[in-house]
Amino acid sequence: MNTNLYKYILSIADNSLILGQRMGALTGHGPSLETDIACTNISLDLFGQVRSYYQYAAKIKGDNTTEDDIAFLRKEREYLNVLLVEQPDTNFAFTIARQFLFDTYHFLFLEALEKSHDITLSAIAKKSIKEVSYHRRFSSDWMRRLGDGTQVSHEKVQEAINVLWTYTDELFHQTEADIVMVKENIAVDVTKLKDHYYNTVKKVLEEATLEVPESKWFQKGGKEGIHTEHLGYLLSDLQYMQRTYPNMEW
């Protein structure tokens, strides 16, 4: 098995799985019917993308591994998503800020992944980017509405951005598997996306009349499997059925 490729696929897919779980958990809890539906539609897109990635990863792993095994039967430290996507829905401003900070990255990332020499990853990227461009519009639009809205919405979304900012630098951190895969022209060199990312984010924050956080201290660890306390709780929900009724099928 090509362990580096396997890990690399998981590091992309797990972001979509965990963020998809977060957004899906809002079903019936969105602030209005329309935003509720938007959040769950985004979740559905992300889960669709995850299936393509995990099916590919399962093929590489062999041993009759299925996409469900990968999604439901790993332990917390085997998930390789970035810390940003596992952060909780403290309030709607956090949901939107988390989505915005991730979507902006996700779009740039997929744009680069389209050029991967791995034809499966490139195909998934070409498909997904169309969906993610809608996600990005939605979350950027809401950033402007909340930031340039009432005093309360402004304060709440500023706080969310301040808190979540600390998880943004990890998006551009390379693991050992990344470095090997970049050399083989399979992986995206995320370090090259960083300037573009922060410029895009800053532009929207300014339009939203929000301040760009000055904090220079950043958290990382998710890509190596070291997570914040929130992931365990999320996984206990996500994995409940498979853990309680092993091998159950729909």
Partner: protein, 166 residues
Amino acid sequence: MVNAEQNIDKQLIPILEQVSDPEIPVLSIMDMGVVRSAVLLSDVVEVEITPTYSGCPAMDVIGDDIKKALKEAGFNSKIELILTPAWTTDWITPKGRKALEDYGIAAPLNAEADKDVLLNGKRLVKCTNCGSQNTRMISQFGSTACKAQFQCDDCLEPFDYFKCLK
């Protein structure tokens, strides 16, 4: 032609035209443009379909429905889901666009106009009930991943708009 890369055996077309999108029953999967190839090889029909959206839950049902329709016509089949080239709303046929409109779903505009209605609040989508262009977006996301929600300010009818996907 946008659909030039389709490769479908002529004898299979009438069979595949009977299969419809489970979420938009008036629309055949052929008019939707999701069937990319269907070829009879020895005694098995190999069909390639492509999803409209990655998470589209209709794809499994569509795969099963194709199998069933082919079986009834005497063919065994194998269905494969392909991602590339990625589906675009350009592949919906004129007949398909008409079927959407008749069903109450506004057909996708071109990419530029789509951006204008979804982002800049322009009134370009025609109401499927009264035909007025005095319509506005309620939400960028609608009842399924492929649609946005609109409302007509003349007849007040709420309706779905099929988003442009390029």
